[in-house]
């Protein structure tokens, strides 16, 4: 017996059995559209009879080089007979003809494939029969010409213009403005002309045989899977090429058979806000195309309630039924043919991030889904959405209606941006830096030379390239909103213009791009930052907290950051970079003095001047985090970072010397000489501190050992602050962190010195403060010898930025706008390891460190405080490594809470 290639909609149980009962696999076999049509039939929702030819048939057809697999066509014929029986109509029969549509339907919705041929089954004879049946020859000839036109353009690849020209001509002849005004005779003439165009351009007659029409349309769908645009799209979207598309053959129903007919689209909830109300548009006496095309003004779905109250109620019940069944908001298409409601499609509805959150929460409270599912329904990227500027919803809707949405492309980097168009990097930089303009940099595609312009721009737009193009990678890297691969854009670098259709945009014109939706608008659009305090989001995150096992802490250097982090749900400070405070205007002079002097006494004086500031900084942090742990990392960066830049000094010295040549007055000369002397002194110090590779130089714990006074001052400040706030009644939990440890002895030596100082301070203050002592793990050697190190550390904190730099031997500053991008473009690196932890290298070291460290000290607190702490994929890894917490920027805390919950839930699913 031949394999089953064709499934009637009512045969979904069989399909399920064949693939092993997995709904995802059913979608794989029947395509998303086919599976949902079948599913609707199963749950008793009115769907026009029809059947699906499987994706397996498509793959077999393509693999054979263009032959239907054995038995397929027979099964199609058989299924067709079944539909004939159900509808009481007969395919190709003059008296009561069955018409069908033929639609592609892959597992994932995918542009670029052949989409739809309607009205298959019409020919001169059946058209006649239809006229007799309906008494509406205008309707029939309109349908007939649509078949010829669609068949010609989508099956035979004829240019649509040829057909459109005929219709325009017909309008001119009839002296009317719109197609709606054309008569039955006009459409009959158009149909004839279409057929002769078909003959002229294909050298064959339009197939009158309905089965030939069906066969050719089916083959065209199959072939379109490997069409250029479809392949390009799959490459860009990362969809595998071996999935194939299904073909759905469905009985035609018509919304344009009079005032008791209608057609429309709807979402079962509001896709923008998530509000629980049906949202949609419809037209009476119209075809589906008309709703989408926007030729006629559509009516809001609420009108239907008044126009056809019973049908609306049926529709509303169906929507509710669908939501209950799919346990998600649905996007549906329907047609009412002479008072009978038919559902033509259902699928999970697209929604904004806010809507996603609200729908997930509401559905949980409605009992449709449980909390775990609600948490899993919202992606970390959707939470991230709440943190980026977005276009004002109202303004965006108006712009869309005003036709200012001119093109869409790939949404490769989130956020919205508005600015003037600049077609090259130098101009983008100049306009931004010198004129303070907001710029959108527009290029056919970008290359490394463009990076400075991209960095200066507010957003990036390209006409070519996919998700891993240079433009996409750089934009994501630096958090710039970007839309790429907008094929509709025609950029003319010579003329300094871009055109979309007939719209011409000149350099300097305003445009707006939406990196979430991949949309490009003409003109300026106002942006707003969504409210992170959205009540549904707060509820969802509180549920996430119930599932996650990872703590979520934040990196914060100042009390105000700590405050914000706490508001967003942070359970501790994972990283306070104590030296950030050194750069403040009131402290830097003391710090510079401390560095410039060779005299220990001067150094101590300078440090003594910094101490009160540091103490206040820490006290503020402790107060903000009352009751929660605060990890303070001791001085990390190399000292030269606090001094002027060497190259700048050399230039300034050169300038001074040239000015000296010109100076005439003695006073001026004296002043210049004094300046030269001062600059030379600083330069000398800078030179003596200069290192070939400062990232691998005298910094971190090395500095602490080299200049013990500095770290002692910091420890004193920490403990004076801790004692002070403890006396105020604050519950304080300081954790002292040593950076850049590579050998256990570094930690040992520092721990001894620092604990001694801590003891002295606590004795002075008469307060005992509980504290922890630990280290960053950011050097491979520290990870490899974690067992030795854990003997002197109560906690580890992975500094995955430096750990990635050393594990890869890559200087992030140098590489991230350079060869790293090249590597990602070429596929040498799948991801930017500075954005997502490299599992095989850095992850392996982390695993070694955790297992060796906990082997010695089972209570070892292990966290991560690199930027990776806010990256969902990295958070998943941290969960699997059994870390205690992730620490990220305050703004990423909500994202991390959700991602940590996802990790825990996925883990549970995997092990259950």
């Amino acid at each position: 017996m031949a394999k089953k290639w064709v499934y009637l909609f009512e045969e979904v149980d069989e399909a399920e059995k064949y693939v092993g009962g997995d709904w995802e696999a059913v979608r794989g076999l029947l395509g998303g559209k086919g599976a949902n049509l079948a599913e609707m039939v199963r749950i008793g929702i009115p769907v026009p009879p029809g059947f699906t030819i499987t994706t397996e048939a498509c793959n077999a057809y393509l693999a054979s080089g263009g032959s239907f697999p054995e038995g397929m066509w027979d099964q199609v014929i058989e299924a067709l007979h079944h539909v004939e029986k159900k509808t009481g109509k007969v395919f190709g029969d003059r008296s009561n003809p069955l018409l069908v549509s033929c639609r592609s339907g892959a597992k994932f919705s995918m542009p670029g494939m052949m989409d739809t041929v309607l009205n298959i089954g019409l020919n001169d004879e059946t058209a006649q029969g239809m006229i007799e049946l309906t008494g509406d020859s205008r309707f029939v000839y309109d349908a007939y010409r649509r078949l010829v036109q669609m068949f010609g353009s989508v099956v035979m690849n004829l240019p649509d213009e040829a057909f459109e020209e005929v219709i325009s001509e017909a309008r001119r002849r009839a002296g009317v403005e719109s197609d709606a005004e054309l008569s039955a005779e006009d459409w009959q003439a158009v149909t004839l002309k279409f057929k002769s165009i078909f003959r002229r351009m294909t050298h064959r007659n339009f197939p009158e045989d309905p089965l030939s029409q069906l066969r050719m349309a089916t083959e065209a769908v199959f072939k379109s899977w490997n069409g250029k645009r479809a392949v390009d799209y799959r490459n860009a979207a990362g969809i595998p090429h071996d999935m194939g598309t299904a073909v759905n053959i469905v009985t035609m129903v018509f919304g344009n058979m009079g005032d008791d007919s209608a057609t429309g689209v709807a979402m079962t909830r509001d896709g923008s806000t998530g509000e629980k109300r049906i949202e949609g548009d419809y037209l009476t006496n119209a075809q589906g195309e008309d709703v989408v095309a926007g030729i006629r003004m559509t009516k809001d779905i609420s009108e239907l309630k008044k126009e056809m109250p019973e049908l609306y109620e049926e529709f509303e019940q169906i929507c509710r039924r669908l939501e209950e069944h799919y346990r998600d908001m649905q996007d549906v298409e329907f047609t009412i043919e002479r008072g009978k409601l038919w559902m033509l499609q259902t699928r999970d509805g697209k929604r904004t991030a806010q809507a996603a959150v609200r729908i997930a929460v509401d559905m949980t409270e409605e009992g449709l889904i449980d909390k775990a599912e609600a948490v899993l329904r919202v992606s970390p990227e959707q939470v991230d959405f709440f943190l980026h500027p977005q276009f004002d919803r109202q303004a965006r809707e108006e712009a869309r209606l005003a036709g200012r949405l001119i093109a869409t492309g790939l949404n490769v980097s989130p956020g919205a941006a508005t600015g003037v168009v600049a077609f090259d990097a130098d101009l983008a930089e100049a306009w931004s830096r010198e004129d303070g303009k907001d710029v959108i940099m527009v290029r056919p595609e970008t290359k490394p030379d463009d990076v400075h312009g991209m960095l200066a721009a507010k957003g990036i737009l390209t006409s070519r390239g996919g998700r891993t193009s240079h433009a996409a990678l750089v934009a994501r890297q630096f958090g710039k909103p970007a839309v790429v691969g907008v094929a509709a854009l025609n950029i003319d670098m010579a003329k300094r213009t871009m055109t979309v259709g007939d719209k011409v945009i000149h350099e300097g014109d305003w445009i707006s791009i939406d990196g979430n939706a991949g949309e490009v608008f003409l003109g300026q659009l106002p942006t707003t930052v969504p409210d992170i305090k959205d009540p549904w989001l707060i509820k969802l995150l509180s549920w996430a907290d119930e599932f996650r096992r990872l703590g979520v802490w934040a990196n914060a250097d100042y009390p105000k950051d700590a405050q914000r982090a706490r508001e967003y749900g942070a359970e501790g400070i994972g990283l306070c970079r104590s030296e950030h405070m050194f750069f403040e205007a009131d402290r830097l002079p003391h710090v510079v003095k401390m560095i410039m002097t060779d005299l220990p006494i001067e150094r101590r004086e300078a440090l003594a001047a910094v101490l009160p500031y540091q103490r206040e900084d820490f006290a503020g942090l402790f107060r903000a985090m009352d009751g929660l742990p605060v990890i303070i990392r001791l001085l990390d960066p190399p000292l030269h970072e606090f001094l002027p830049n060497r190259i700048d000094l050399l230039q300034e010295l050169c300038d001074l010397k040239i000015r000296l040549q010109h100076a005439q007055e003695l006073a001026v000369i004296d002043d210049l000489l004094a300046q030269v002397k001062r600059k030379e002194a600083v330069l000398n110090r800078v030179e003596s501190l200069h290192e070939q590779n400062p990232m691998l130089g005298l910094r971190g714990v090395r500095l602490g050992i080299h200049l013990p006074e500095v770290t002692l001052m910091q420890v004193r400040a920490i403990f004076e602050a801790a004692c002070m706030v403890e006396k105020e009644g604050v519950s304080v939990h300081p954790e002292i962190m040593i950076p850049l440890t590579s050998h256990v002895n570094e930690l040992k030596v520092q721990r001894e010195a620092l604990e001694k100082e801590a003891k002295i301070v606590m004795a002075e203050q008469g307060v005992q403060v509980k504290y922890k002592f630990g280290t960053m793990i950011e050097i491979p050697r520290a990870a490899l010898t974690a067992d030795q190190i854990a003997a002197y550390a109560e906690f580890f904190s992975f500094g995955t930025n430096d750990l990635t730099q050393t594990t890869f031997g890559i200087s992030r500053d140098d590489a991230e706008a350079g060869f790293l991008i090249e590597y990602m473009e070429n596929g040498i690196l799948p991801d930017n390891p500075f954005a997502t932890i490299d599992r095989d290298g850095v992850g392996a070291l982390m695993e070694i460190a955790v297992s060796k460290g906990r082997g010695v000290n089972p209570d070892l607190e292990c966290g991560i405080c690199g930027e990776h702490g806010g990256d969902p994929v990295s958070i998943d890894l941290c969960h699997r490594l059994g870390l205690t917490y992730v620490s990220c920027s305050p703004f990423r805390v909500p994202v991390a809470r959700l991602a940590a919950a996802h990790a825990a839930l996925r883990d549970e699913q995997a092990t259950s």
Copy 2:
């Protein structure tokens, strides 16, 4: 029963049983001297009767705060009785008194402890008895005054000057020049005066009771273990403090009892050359001290053969017996008392490196030891000795005899150096750089500010510091001969002089230092480089080759280096740095052109110009290594290294601009402007190539991927050369090595490109060359993902320099003269990880790499090509990791061959 604290010499079996039969443990219990005296007794060699108080007794005494452990003193008395019985004399007996010496003797010979008290047992009464017995009152009073003097100075810590003054006074009174001319009465008077000095300075009488003398001397030896100098020495030499010293009580024998008495020292072979002949000095009618003190002119041991032929023959037999027993060259002390030969000490003799090699080889051929033992007898440092300049042996001996050896200290960095004294770093640098002088930098101790002077100096000398002092560490780092911790040096920085005793050396005076022996000479000494082609060394290394399992390859960039490496025994080239050739004068302009241009065509032209040179370089290498593998590493360093320095360019530009201010003539101005333009072009390129951390930047395989033309040119040159020499009949085995791989995809991409080019070239040339393709493992990630990488590599070569940099997160260029030294001084790092592979970190990564790599590809060739490849400790690690070979500089090949044999032999010993 009390523990046994005292062992008669004849009780060595018991001691051996107690410690478990291990000779090293016996030495630990009885000390080196005691154990050897007992051992001589066991094998029937005449040793004056005596016994040893154990190191355990010493430790117990010190632990108790100064009480002999229970039973010890009783055991001493008992042992003394035993000696009395053996000698027929009685301790403290007037008629036939027993005299003994009391000497310290730790496991390792160690300066700084109380050494010897002779003639214990003499008092007014026994002296009288001795006179009656010997009839020689001069001899007896001389012995008596020596006891009082030694007891006073070493037991009671009285200043020796007081005693010496008395003797000078006595000489003056008697009107004689030397002690030898003083009469019995003179010595009797001296003895009386010594006693009154003793009384005056210690407020007690000289102990007349022989047992009190013995008890006090024993306690003094115990206490001296914790004396300041002894503790300092142990700290410097790395000897543990809990070993304790033994005390040896030995019957006195006298070489000064007439012309049938004599005393001397000898080595059983020549300690300088290793020649098989007894070498030594003696004096008739003299005490041991006299031979060492150099007061009287000693006679060569060959004289003894004529003077006392029978005794000489006995002595010769004893020497042979000792060598046979100890299976090593011995350093002995002997005394002839009235025609009876006594051996007072034996120990393994000190020897030069040449002697060590020859003795090991000769003894093997004599059948005393086997080849494995011979190989183990010579240390890699001794082979290294053959590669450093040394003082001419003859000249050094003459200088020693002329009293120009003024002091000794710690031999912390090998080699000999001669130069003028400079007391500060700036002067050392100025004299060396500007005046071309050879300088020895002399400081009380050094600190980081001194490094520039140390680098400019030929050698380094300090009066303070130990083996891990800053001076010692820096000297070893940079291969400068150094002697440190020369306590006898008195450096007066104000006067710019140093004094040793009464000798004053001024700044600018010549001195010579021997870093092997730790010796300091006045004036210049000629240096020579020992002959690496020493026939004994060649033989020893050939034996080493029989044992080692590691291959020894060499790093060589040029044919002449390859030639030398092969002569020294290299079995392949482990690293040819192909870019070194780019720096040659005839190539650099093309390379610079290649870097400066943005035009692909110009780049290809420039590379085409380099190609013939590269081809010739490789051809020469292949010819030199006919039949052996040659690993060529493709371009590694960042491009900016081929261009002028950025800071220099800025300075030059500044100078040019200042000159422009002064220029008057148009022609000059034009010329200067043109220069500015050229410099600015270069500077622009340099700026665009500038990286924050070039070590982690665009270099290695990253460059190969970024500029594929360069590596393709190199591969073409390699294969054109290989085909060419193959046609000449040379057997060529090229191995292409990719540097700095961190991700398998880098290797994959490069391998594809390079193998394609290789194929093309071989097809062009009509020759098939067998080659391998592999990668450096010098980035932690490469080691961690070695299983993935091994799928694309036939060999791994560990670049342990970069691997150490990335594993530690340390930039060697910056740290090695900076905080790394600080770390070693403070004991934070036990060794310089750039000299000796860090076992726990870098070694762990190497182990992961080897095991993961061989897991995928069992035939994977694994080598090391960092400088560590020539370091014995690292070679041992490489052996244990199962590497295929080590590759080091040609000069280190002999050292590596021996070290590899040691590793294999130790491994065998450990597992057998």
